[in-house]
Amino acid sequence: MKYVSKAFLLGISLLALPAGVSGQDPAKVAEGARTWAQNCTRCHNARSPLERNDSDWAIIVGHMRARANLTKRQATMITIYLQTINRPEGFQVLVTPEAPEETPAAPAAKDPKPDKAGKKKPVSGSGF
């Protein structure tokens, strides 16, 4: 899936965010990205992370947790991921080719393909 691999990229690229930009633990953001990619495109098209602010995402992920039978941990990680990627700085990382080079070891990454990130056009995060 195109957007699924984008999700991996986003999660991985986020690891390169200087501390403070996201304010979140990069390992949790990466776990959230993976969990999002595994669970949030099964029933409907992926909704753009940019469409909601932090408090909306916290509530909507609860709504989706009940729809999709997710664990509390899965929902928490997805919320952290969405609350990180829903601002321009989060996306910026995806379109900045230099950033992934400084990526610290990405434990969550199965297939980071950092070189591809630089070639990609900015995306809305929803596969559109």
């Binding site: 595994q38 669970n39 509530i59 909507i60 609860g62 729809r67």
Partner: protein, 378 residues
């Protein structure tokens, strides 16, 4: 809609209005319009339908379903969905769900209130018009949003009660999920009364329905004053692999008459599978309705299935769906005619939540129809 259902709908609508007034007042004192613990979301659609062949007839319908999410603090979420639609000259209002979810446990979610019954997958997850890839629901399930309700096997099931939903992640992307519920259950429908808003969720009314052979019409989600002590008990078990594969088994059992001796049993199997840009969905539903006929208790068996294939090509997505209701039988003898519809569709996705759907439906027992629907999730 029953009296109590109406009251609940009015209460939810009232709540929405009050919260709008409250936020409007807040806006005047310069405080922000949105509250951090509330989300107003939902979906809507506008549909044009033309019946072809014999006499050309066409009409427009529209519907909007606001969803109201309210975090009540801690791990408690209130969620409600109303549906406003058009049916002939009347505007219909339906309370799809109004439920409280407790999200505090790691692997279990507890729900109470009126909720979409997890029976099959169309009802609780595919029916919103921005998710359903065709403008109409498959023949198995009743009213479609912005689509046209046709004589179907079941209505979209929504009922009042309690539910527990379990999640169990397994190895390498697999997971199991189980949803169990106990609700008020189905009830006998007085067919002479007729749905006052034209939106009754009855199964069985109509010329070709079970009523035509003497089996009583059964209604779901309308028994807010439960007509018997028996509850509808059911569940759905799902096996999931990542975002691309899921198989579900669902079943429920209930007594539907006041005397508690006529049973209703339902089973379903659902499969969803995506391989690159191709997506397959299919469901099979099997219903057994026991009823009294003189001194005997025959069982009417009705069943049906649909299979749907869609392929995403850029923003375009052609869709094919074949729905079929098999002949209804008693003691293996056909007593009700089956029917089938072939739907051919072409969607254009303006955005992830805005499809424009063009569909042509071929029916063997009625006129073909052409549909154009514009749907949006917001």
């Amino acid at each position: 809609m029953s009296r109590i259902n109406k009251k609940v709908t009015a209460a939810v609508a009232g709540g929405l209005l009050l919260s709008t007034l409250a936020t409007a007042a807040a806006a005047q004192d310069g405080t922000p319009l949105t509250r951090a613990n509330m989300v107003l979301t939902g979906y809507g659609s506008a549909t044009y339908q033309a019946a072809l062949n014999n006499e050309f007839a066409n009409n427009f319908t529209a519907s909007i379903s606001p969803i109201f999410l309210y975090n009540m603090g801690g791990d408690v979420l209130f969620e409600a969905e109303l549906e406003f639609g058009l049916s002939g000259e009347a505007t219909t209002t339906t309370l799809e769900y109004a439920q409280i979810d407790y999200l505090g446990f790691e692997r279990v979610i507890i729900t109470a209130g009126k909720f979409m019954i997890p029976f099959g997958i169309f009802g609780d997850r595919l029916h919103p018009s921005w998710i359903n890839k065709l403008p109409t629901p498959p023949l198995l399930f009743g009213h479609g949003h912005g689509g046209v309700a046709e004589g179907s096997l079941l209505p979209l099931l929504s009922d009042a009660g309690v539910m527990a939903r379990f999640a169990q992640p397994l190895q390498s992307g697999w997971s199991l999920n189980l949803s169990l519920y106990a609700t008020q259950g189905p009830t006998l429908v007085d067919e002479t009364a007729g749905g006052e808003d034209g939106h009754g969720d009855e199964h069985g009314a109509g010329e070709d329905g079970p009523a035509s052979i003497g089996a009583p019409a059964v209604g779901f989600g309308i028994a807010f004053d439960d007509n018997n002590k028996n509850k509808m008990i059911g569940g759905r078990l799902g096996l999931v692999k990542g975002p691309n594969f899921e198989v579900n088994f669902s079943a429920f059992n209930a007594m539907y008459d006041e005397g508690n001796y006529q049973s209703y049993n339902a089973h379903a199997v659902s499969l969803q599978w995506r391989l690159r840009s191709v997506e397959f969905k299919g469901e099979y539903v099997h219903l057994m309705q026991e009823f009294q006929s003189d001194q005997t208790f025959p069982t009417l068996i009705t069943s049906g299935y649909y299979v749907q294939l869609a392929r995403r090509i850029g923003r375009w997505e052609p869709v094919v769906r074949w729905s079929q209701l098999l002949d209804g039988t008693i003691d293996s003898e056909a007593v009700l005619p089956g029917k089938e519809i072939l739907a051919l569709g072409l969607d254009y996705w303006i955005d992830a939540t805005i499809p424009v759907k063009l569909a042509y439906e071929v029916r063997l027992d009625a006129d073909d129809s052409l549909l154009l629907q514009w749907a949006f999730g917001f």
